[in-house]
């Protein structure tokens, strides 16, 4: 679990509620190259289910998710 993932873009989604985390991720993914990674933090517990669902639907990949207290940190990779 301790290997570090190099992120091309960092995104702060803390304080945002549904549907904004998914909306912001969908906009931000266009700003990284194919194969690029976004590292994001959020506080909406809904992202635990929503980001994997978004990734599956859009053909991208959620690499990893971590909870640090109330903050959820996750990495998504652009696949296409």
């Amino acid at each position: 679990m301790s290997e570090t993932i190099k992120a091309d873009l960092e995104l702060n989604l803390q304080g945002l509620m549904c549907p904004l985390p998914v909306v912001k991720i969908s906009q931000a993914i266009k700003n990284v190259p194919v194969g690029g990674v976004i590292e994001a933090t959020a506080t909406d517990p809904g992202v635990m289910a929503d980001i994997p669902a978004w990734a599956k639907s859009t053909g991208n990949e959620m690499l990893k998710v971590e909870k640090e207290g109330k903050v959820i940190r996750f990495w998504v990779k652009r696949l296409k």
Binding site: G15, V22, V23, S26, T58
Partner: protein, 159 residues
């Protein structure tokens, strides 16, 4: 998911704050997930895409325009509105929790390319003209145009 175009469409019949909110949340979510999304606003739902000016030409139309005045910020929840107190309370509770306000959610939908369509027949009945609707409305159409969109959609809702 296959390479077939992903599409979502919905009828927004309700002009209640809570239901319009649900409609825009689903629409923005669908757009974010790669669905080409269409919203068809009819009857009370037209309120969500009106500028908020007074509407109506004849006596009944003008009466309706007064009773139904205001734009998206003026609509109340389907329950517990109590003459506007409920609307105020829900807006406050939502803003305290960082939920996006309705007008901003509509703008997000527009920014994501959600197509807004208005129902010609309801507009004629309620005496609402194209100029009474926000400029971002893509077109004023009938049921066949909506069914055309809905027929290609994997997701279709009536709200």
């Amino acid at each position: 998911m296959s390479e077939e175009k992903k599409k979502a469409s919905m009828v927004v019949f309700s002009g209640d704050m809570d239901k319009v909110m649900a409609a825009f949340i689903i629409a923005t979510g669908a757009a974010a997930m790669g669905y080409e999304t269409t919203m068809f606003f009819t009857f009370w739902g037209l309120k969500a895409i009106q500028k908020g000016n007074r509407t109506g030409k004849g006596f009944f139309g003008k009466m309706l325009g007064i009773m139904n005045r205001g734009g998206i910020d003026r609509i109340g929840p389907s329950r517990f509105n109590f003459g506007g107190i409920g609307r105020w309370m829900f807006k406050k509770m939502m803003s305290d929790k960082g939920v996006t306000p309705l007008a901003q959610l509509r703008q997000t939908a527009i920014d994501l390319g959600v197509k807004l369509l208005a129902c010609q027949m309801s507009m004629d009945v309620m005496e609402i003209s194209r100029e009474d609707l926000i400029d971002e409305v893509a077109d004023v159409v009938g049921v066949a145009a909506f069914i055309g969109e809905a027929g290609d959609s994997q997701i279709n809702l009536f709200i």
